[in-house]
């Protein structure tokens, strides 16, 4: 079927190639389980923050499930706003107008800023993630 000669005996290189693919095959589930364990650990903190936010006055934005929560946060000028990555993926907080850019926030890490003016922002790694910070006063 092929005009290229196939090797007649197994070679060390062949064994290594097959092993490489098997390592990749196992790596996926291992990474997923590892990430999920980290996400579960952060889920409690996210739930607690959500409860606090329901009472009003929250100054924290969570990132989970490829969404910023809340989508719009209103704070007074000078407030420190914290962005917590509770997701299993890295994210950024990047202002559409330029200026503010958190850089990559790894899962379980946070980024904070002192609110001086409002801006629309998004995650540069996952552009479908968008939200807005409104600053009053």
């Amino acid at each position: 079927m092929s005009d290229v000669a196939e090797p007649r005996t197994a070679s060390l290189a062949g064994i290594l190639v097959v092993l490489l693919f098997l390592v990749f095959a196992v790596a996926g589930p291992v990474v997923i389980v590892w990430e999920r364990l980290g996400a579960d650990a952060g889920a409690g903190a996210a739930a607690a923050r959500e409860g606090a936010g329901a009472g009003g006055g929250g100054n924290t934005v969570g990132m989970a499930g490829l969404k910023f929560q809340p989508g719009t946060l209103t704070v007074a000028k000078g407030t420190t706003v914290v962005f917590d990555n509770d997701d299993t993926a890295p994210h950024t907080v990047t202002a559409r107008s330029g200026g503010t850019d958190s850089g990559v926030i790894d899962p379980g890490r946070s980024f904070s800023l002192v609110a001086s003016e409002g801006f629309d922002y998004f995650c540069s790694i996952h552009p479908s993630m968008t939200a807005k910070l409104v600053v009053t006063g």
Partner: protein
């Protein structure tokens, strides 16, 4: 995660978009692989090329597909793009794992580690194509519908 940051910066903050493009390319190439294999097995007259040329093209296209797939898989492993639901991630992981299991089987045959596996190559190849389709559906299709 510095690898992801470096890659994302290198690609102008468009890492995920590049993954979408490359994953789609891998899916398309895997479809071409099936057509080329059908041609050199003489199960099809499409594409209209000789069986020898089809075999060579299958090998070259397979190498390209494999390289792209491993590059995308590497970026997934060092910085998962993030679940929009646990089910999607679970399925994506299952099919990603299946691809590499099938590749291990295929190369075990090609490298003469599993001599009796020759007869299964068409099934392995078809399984690879279907797995790539499922991976595309659980990543790119999800990315598109989420926008």
């Amino acid at each position: 995660m510095d690898i992801i940051k470096s890659l994302n910066d290198l690609l102008g903050g468009q890492l995920l978009l590049w993954k979408v493009v490359l994953t789609s390319l891998v899916f398309a190439c895997s479809g071409l692989q099936v057509l080329l294999a059908a041609r050199f097995y003489e199960a099809s007259t499409v594409p209209p090329i000789s069986t020898g040329t089809a075999a060579t093209a299958h090998r070259v296209n397979g190498t390209l597909t494999l390289g792209l797939a491993m590059a995308v898989a590497f970026t997934c492993l060092v910085g998962p793009a993030g679940p929009t639901s646990p089910t999607r991630v679970l399925l994506h992981s299952v099919f990603g794992t299946l691809v590499f299991v099938l590749l291990a089987l295929k190369f075990a045959v090609l490298k003469r580690l599993w001599r009796a596996g020759d007869r299964y190559l068409p099934w392995i190849g078809s399984g690879l194509f279907l797995s790539f389709a499922a991976i595309w559906a659980t990543s790119v299709a999800d990315y598109i519908t989420a926008r």
